[in-house]
């Protein structure tokens, strides 16, 4: 037994030393983010593999070097809102949050989890630097500007022309009849037609986009904020059209279980030919794939359409820079940081290095991201812009609605049931 013990102790010591070395080396990297009153903590969704994440990290690192100030970065993905709120409940939220307006975050200003930035837009000289429509979109019904609009986004539809040709489809479908025909050909060639994340927000966006093909923008606003599809003839037709497309096999099999992650993987590995996705996701498509892709809009309905061209969701609702209650006490730290982020140099860096579209007025156009450039160049003669409904859907209805739309993508769900589920998502909240 003693032999075993001493051998083990030796091993333990060896392992310990081997493991301690990197710890001691990286000690500074292990200091908690929010330590110290002079530190600005930033909770950002521009992190991980998302377009612009590396640029953001670089930009912040340059800021640290230049001003010798401490900035701590906390990162999350789509779970950022809930993590922020949990921290808020514990009184320990970050000073600044970088996230879009959706679901939960829509109630932040009202619940005083964050502060409106109207005053700072003027005081810090930012109002003239930002696209006015962006500021409008970020203003809530009470006239409070929720956050500084930072990145913006559009949601075109990407078509893999090489795959389409392989299936014998020579032109991108621009009407729903063409889309159904193309889907038939693609399926015959063993290629998936339209892939979308049926089970999460990406599928929900598409469904609402389809509905918008049948109603005016004002009517759409009413429908999405109240949820009463049945009271709008156009919206009902929209749902029926969606069912028609679904039952005609326009979507890949098992689409109701896909996520935005799987939809993009499917598209980039050539398993499916068509995908509606955010322009920032397009920035991540490889060059060789981008060469065979053309960007356009969602095919306009062949009958009863309320829009003239294929639709593309256009929105200024990308990331915004929010100031939290904790941040209110650190405005002297936040001001230079935010001003820095809105400088011309930083904006250009985002556009050129990461392919992000920014809400800061800029002349710079992305060169290395052909698809992003394509998407931003789509004119009103080619596509009709429709709204991103995120702003209108009440916070409490958001998650239930996503569950409702995932059921909508399942074959066998009738239009009536979809409408019913949709409406119940609004009332169940």
């Amino acid at each position: 037994m003693t032999d075993g013990i001493s051998r083990r102790t030796l091993l333990g010591a060896g392992l310990g030393a081997g493991l301690l070395a990197p710890i001691l080396a990286g000690c500074s990297a292990l200091t908690p983010a929010s330590s110290g009153p002079g530190t600005l903590s930033v909770h950002t969704q521009l992190s991980g593999a998302v377009a612009g994440a590396q640029t953001f990290t670089d930009v912040v690192a340059a800021y640290r070097r230049r001003t010798d100030r401490r900035v701590a970065l906390l990162s999350n993905g789509s779970d950022l809102p809930i993590v922020f709120e949990t921290s808020s409940l514990a009184g320990k939220e970050a000073d600044v949050a970088i996230v879009n307006m959706v679901g939960r975050t829509l109630s932040w200003t009202g619940e005083h989890a964050t502060v409106p930035v109207n005053q700072y837009l003027d005081d810090w000289g930012l109002r003239d630097l930002i696209i006015p429509e962006a500021i409008d979109e970020w203003t809530d019904p009470e006239g409070r500007v929720r956050a500084f609009p930072f990145t913006r986004t559009n949601w075109p539809v990407s078509f893999n022309t090489a795959l389409l040709e392989q299936a014998g489809v020579s032109e991108i479908p621009t009407t729903s009849d063409q889309l159904i025909a193309a889907a038939d050909r693609l399926r015959a060639a063993g290629i998936g037609p339209v892939t979308v994340g049926g089970s999460d927000w990406s599928g929900q966006k598409l469904l609402m986009q389809v509905i918008q093909g049948f109603v005016s923008q004002d009517e759409a606003a009413t429908v999405f904020s109240t949820g009463k599809i049945s009271e709008s003839a156009g919206a009902v037709r929209g749902v029926q059209h969606f069912v028609e497309l679904r039952d005609a096999g326009v979507f890949v099999d098992s689409v109701q279980g896909f996520t935005s992650d799987s939809e993009l993987t499917q598209f980039t590995t050539r398993k499916a030919a068509i995908v509606p996705a955010m322009s920032s996701a397009l920035a991540l498509v490889s060059k060789e794939r981008a060469e065979e892709v053309t960007v356009g809009g969602w095919p306009v309905p062949s009958k009863h359409a309320a829009i003239a061209h294929p639709s593309v969701i256009k929105s200024y609702n990308g990331h915004g820079i929010w100031i939290s209650e904790n941040g209110r006490d650190k405005l002297d730290l936040i001001k230079p940081f935010v001003q820095y982020l809105y400088s011309a140099a930083v904006t250009s860096e985002f556009v050129l290095d990461s392919g992000r579209d920014m809400s800061r007025i800029t002349e710079t156009v992305s060169r290395d991201f052909p698809l992003v450039a394509q998407a931003s160049k789509l004119t009103d003669d080619q596509v009709t812009p429709v709204m991103l409904p995120d702003l209108l859907v009440p916070d409490s209805a958001y998650e239930p609605m996503i569950r409702a739309t995932s059921l909508a993508y399942g074959s066998g769900t009738s239009a009536d049931r979809i409408i019913d589920l949709f409406e119940r998502a609004y009332t169940a909240a």
């Binding site: 709120e85 049926g198 089970s199 109701q256 896909f258 799987s262 993987t265 398993k271 059921l407």
Partner: protein, 311 residues
């Protein structure tokens, strides 16, 4: 998977009950109150018992959002619970997961253990391999299966070369829960087999010899000899795995499917997490927690009865 659980300690015959009156607890450390245990007790009380009590209290509150102040709600949460189809879907899913997964896991683990204990060729390699899934954390296992079960991943790739069509395992409501059960099985069978094998190792060689000379083949040996002897212990293993499947499914679901598609993979344990940290309906969430607790007790009791010592 590897959950710290145990059975209430069997009263050991070695410590004869000592009438406390005979020895005054003065001066010596051998007092009647375990003072040295107080730190551990305090720790345990604050960090484990405390939250459970809080869970029960919150179950009776209406707390519909992180930033909202809670108010007393009596039995409202439970009333909403029992009429919510999501809740019943979760009950159904958890039941299916356990009723299908647990017996398969135990039976296969037993067969595996039996095989290994016969010391066939390669049994050392087998023992080494069997244990590996137990080492792997939930995130690592989940990420591995996420890649394999991807519609264009390994599983479908293999099936396609065999000529069978692939499916979107995690995406199809018909197979999503099954996929999660498979993940549970993959991780749990090896671990259970190692545990059972250690018990089977202790079976008296002479009994086995006698049975063999009697003409017993493998089947009778396994089910007629080993099983009855190890039955009690296998019951312990079954309880361990039951608790693990019931309580820890939240992790796998969170990592792989987030309860979807629809409610196909929402288990009770995931529902607790989802209601707390996604929907932020905190009273409801803790009410489900209470139900889960009860479920656990009932299940343990049933397993205890089924796999009791028979001799």
């Amino acid at each position: 998977m590897a959950v710290l659980v145990e059975e209430p300690p069997v009263r050991s015959a070695g410590t004869p009950p000592r009438p406390s009156r005979r020895r005054p607890a003065v001066g010596t450390a051998r007092g009647s109150f375990p003072t040295f245990a107080i730190p551990a007790l305090a720790w345990y009380g604050v960090f484990m018992i405390g939250p459970v009590v809080a869970m029960i209290v919150i179950a009776f509150l209406s707390w519909p959002g992180m930033l909202v102040t809670p108010t007393f709600a009596g039995l409202d949460n439970f009333r909403v619970l029992f009429s919510d189809e999501t809740f019943w879907a979760a009950v159904r899913n958890s039941t299916v997961q356990i009723v299908i997964g647990l017996p398969i896991m135990i039976v296969l683990a037993f067969l595996l253990a039996f095989h290994v204990v016969q010391k066939p060729r390669g049994h050392r390699v087998l023992r080494y391999l069997l244990f590996i899934p137990a080492l792997i954390s939930a995130p690592a296992t989940a990420m591995m299966f996420y890649a394999m079960l991807n519609p264009d991943g390994l599983v479908n790739g293999v099936l396609e070369t065999l000529g069978i069509g692939g499916k979107a395992w995690l995406a199809d409501p018909a197979t999503a829960l099954g996929a999660l059960i498979v993940v549970d099985l993959w991780a749990g069978i090896g671990y259970s087999a190692v545990l059972i094998a250690s018990r089977l190792d202790g079976v008296d060689g002479e009994v086995v010899q006698a049975a063999r000379m009697d003409g017993a083949g493998s089947w009778r040996l396994a089910w007629g000899v080993y099983w009855p002897i190890a039955r009690d212990f296998i019951g312990v293993v079954a309880m361990l795995q039951f608790l693990s499947m019931l309580f820890s499914s939240a992790q796998n679901v969170l990592l792989l499917t987030q309860g979807g598609p629809g409610t196909a993979t929402t288990t009770l344990s995931y529902l607790v997490y989802q209601k707390a940290f996604v929907d932020t309906d905190l009273g409801y969430s803790q009410a489900v927690g209470v139900v889960l607790f009860v479920f656990g007790l009932v299940g343990m009791f049933i397993i205890r009865r089924v796999l009791r010592k028979t001799h």
